[in-house]
């Protein structure tokens, strides 16, 4: 601390009373401390690894892994490398995160709107849902779905049969798998053309509206084009899709798409849990739009649907986006709880099995943390772009 008496007698005479010198000194000390700390950690780690006979470096990524993974989006078998296990785990993490984000958003918006419903029963039900789910640990919910619900489903022979196409048992959910046959390219091409046409049309409609004030029903026309064109192509080429229907083979089902119970439990729990937080965000976002806005829209003669779409939602989105982003980030991070029930995500496969087999703790942990850091940065980056687009345009 500065001594005020001295300051009066010798203004700025002592170097340690000069704020510039002091900041410089503090920062130099801080840098030195960080470097010393890092250096000490580095030396300790090197010494410890040497005494335990652990080699350093990323060479282990090319070695053969030798363990199987129950679910993989890319071809994988036990002879492939540890590097491959990283990609398998990462893709599984991204898969469950993406599925969770979509369902949690849809569910969260529905429940958030339901909480504001004028219908007393509906709003109270939504309230009970939110207050129950968000006050119970996610890991417990994952355990509940996995061990208590999915484990008590019937065995494959006694599967729940939904129309002979979808089967549900304690080994998972079995869905028919669409297989593209020759001619399917036309359907894909039609879909691409339809989407492009819709985007072009929407731009044109907006331009025309700004110029002449005439409205064009671009949403309805766009929907008709996007659905209709691929459907026409599908029918014209004679339905070039065949369905591989799961069937009981021996003790288990074969064919079709399998959603393993680990994935299902994690997906359900992540969606329900995150939805309860998103619901609150949506509610507060909608409440933040002042009543005067709705009244003004009514005074301008907008119908209630248009008021919602053109006045309330755009303003609510500004409040909703930033906390929604952090919920998405939380969901991605929470997907790492997969390791508790054995869903082969990045943490379970790479930080679990690979680390245990190779003992390369430092490298594996560093890679895993870097991946989560990257995912976080990428999601925040895109949400920031979106946020800037919907933010208040002050002129």
């Amino acid at each position: 601390m500065t001594n005020s008496k001295m300051n009066v007698e010798h203004p700025r005479s002592r170097p340690w009373n000069d704020p510039k010198v002091r900041t410089l000194a503090f920062q130099t000390i801080a840098i030195a401390a960080v470097f010393w700390f890092g250096w000490a950690l580095f030396q300790n780690t090197l010494n410890n690894m040497e005494s335990r006979g652990i080699s350093t470096g990323f060479g282990f990524l090319d070695q053969s892994a030798g363990f199987g993974i129950i679910m993989s989006l890319i071809p994988y078998d036990a002879t492939m490398s540890y590097g491959r296990t990283f990609w398998v785990g990462l893709l599984n993490t991204l898969l469950v995160s993406a599925m969770g984000v979509v369902t949690a958003t849809v569910l969260g918006f529905i429940i958030g709107v339901a909480r504001l419903s004028s219908n007393w029963v509906v709003s109270k039900l939504a309230l009970v849902y939110v207050e129950t789910i968000r006050n119970i640990p996610l890991l417990l919910q994952i355990f509940f779905w996995y061990f208590a619900v999915l484990r008590s489903l019937p065995s494959p022979r006694m599967s729940v049969d939904m129309g002979g196409l979808v089967f549900l048992n304690n080994r998972g959910l079995y869905l028919p798998d669409p297989i593209a046959e020759p001619g399917f390219g036309w359907v894909t091409a039609a879909a691409v053309i339809a989407i492009t046409a819709t985007v072009v049309m929407q731009r044109w409609a907006k331009k025309r509206q700004l110029k002449t004030g005439q409205l064009f029903p671009s949403f309805r026309v766009g929907l008709a084009v996007v659905v209709g064109l691929p459907l026409l192509a599908y029918l014209a080429t004679g339905g070039p899709v065949s369905w591989e229907i799961p069937a009981l083979q021996g003790f288990n089902f074969g064919g079709g798409i399998t959603i393993i119970p680990e994935l299902a439990a994690l997906w359900v729990a992540l969606s329900l849990y995150t939805a309860s937080f998103i619901a609150e965000i949506v509610r507060s976002g909608i409440l933040s739009v002042s009543h005067g806005q709705t009244e003004a829209a009514g005074a301008l003669g907008l119908r209630s649907g248009l008021t919602l779409r053109l006045v309330v939602i755009p303003q609510a989105m500004r409040v909703i986006i930033p906390p929604l982003t952090s919920q998405y980030l939380n969901l991605v991070k929470n997907s790492s709880l997969a390791t508790a029930i054995g869903y082969p995500d990045l943490v379970a496969v790479f930080m679990g099995t690979t680390l245990n087999q190779t003992g390369q703790a430092v490298e594996v942990v560093a890679i895993t943390m870097a991946v989560y850091l990257t995912i976080s940065l990428v999601i925040s980056f895109f949400m920031n772009i979106y946020n800037r687009a919907v933010a208040l345009q002050e002129r």
Binding site: S118, L140, F147, L355
Partner: protein, 361 residues
Amino acid sequence: MPRPSELPPIKEIGAIGWMRKHLFSSWYNTVLTLVSVYLIVTLIGPLLNWVVFEATFAGSSSSDCKGEGACWLFIGQRLNFFIYGFYPDALQWRVDVMFGLLAVAFAPQFMERFPARKYFGLFGMTGLPLIGYFLIPGGWFGLEEVQSSKWGGLMLTLILAYVGILAALPLGTVLALGRRSDMPVIRGICVVFIEVWRAVPLITVLFMASVMLPLFLPEGMNFEKLMRALIGIILWQSAYMAEVVRGGLQAIPKGQYEAASALGLGYWKKMGLIVLPQALTLVIPGIVNTFIALFKDTTLVLIIGLFDILGAVQSTITDPAWQNVAIEGYVFVAFCFWVFCFGMSRYSQNLERKLDTGHKT
């Protein structure tokens, strides 16, 4: 003589009016109401049957659970394990004392008019952990020592969450001050520290604490598993705490900073006497919310092999002596967490309403 004004029509007031307005205001609201009521009625019967009417409460072993309902007997039989873990029976009074002190310190916080409740809260943050530090592990003043590997259940959950938040608070405050510092190097270090910890999931932190921490330390120095988990939790939590405190610092009007400087206060006096007291009061709801999040997240320690309350229940469910008690176990844990978390969130909401002065800067 003035005529009494006519009563509003019967359709608009009372129970009928309320129902017309809140349940049957339009055709789709009517449908929604009927569907929801139907769902509630069909679900609540079997649920009550399971929870109360057909449930087993008395008995001694799993063979007594014969009915269709829940086997609450299981919870009753293993309750000791769920609360204390492997803590020796004869020494459990020490944990009970801590539970009692915890209640004494924090129950007054829910009562608005309680005299001197601030000091009870202060005791909870200073004296209570100190007493716990001596009492729970023992080994002092002739108390028998209890290894941390024997701690478990609800007690461990509370210890992890409480120590985690208490240690993270000062660390987070320092980080928040650093992030708002004028010195670019200090700011940079704090930003990197906060953002890195916030970006990684707690599981990876716990894995790191249990696998990598022994590698980082000089030879001969090592911690128990619980201590390692705590270090991980504290570092991770301090980053979240820093963001909460930063919110408080930003909410303090600039005039307060300037007035403090005008009075000739240096940086530490300005922060310690003027800014932080205001900022920390302002962020109590935020701190409580982070505490709730951390409290729920402590369940993750079961993945690295500590027996918190969920870990204790999970290990009992797989015990062959008890069969098909998974749901009962999970419901019990869920109920415990729900009571704590719901209570705390109500507390923070009330506080938020009270602290909200209506003007934001």
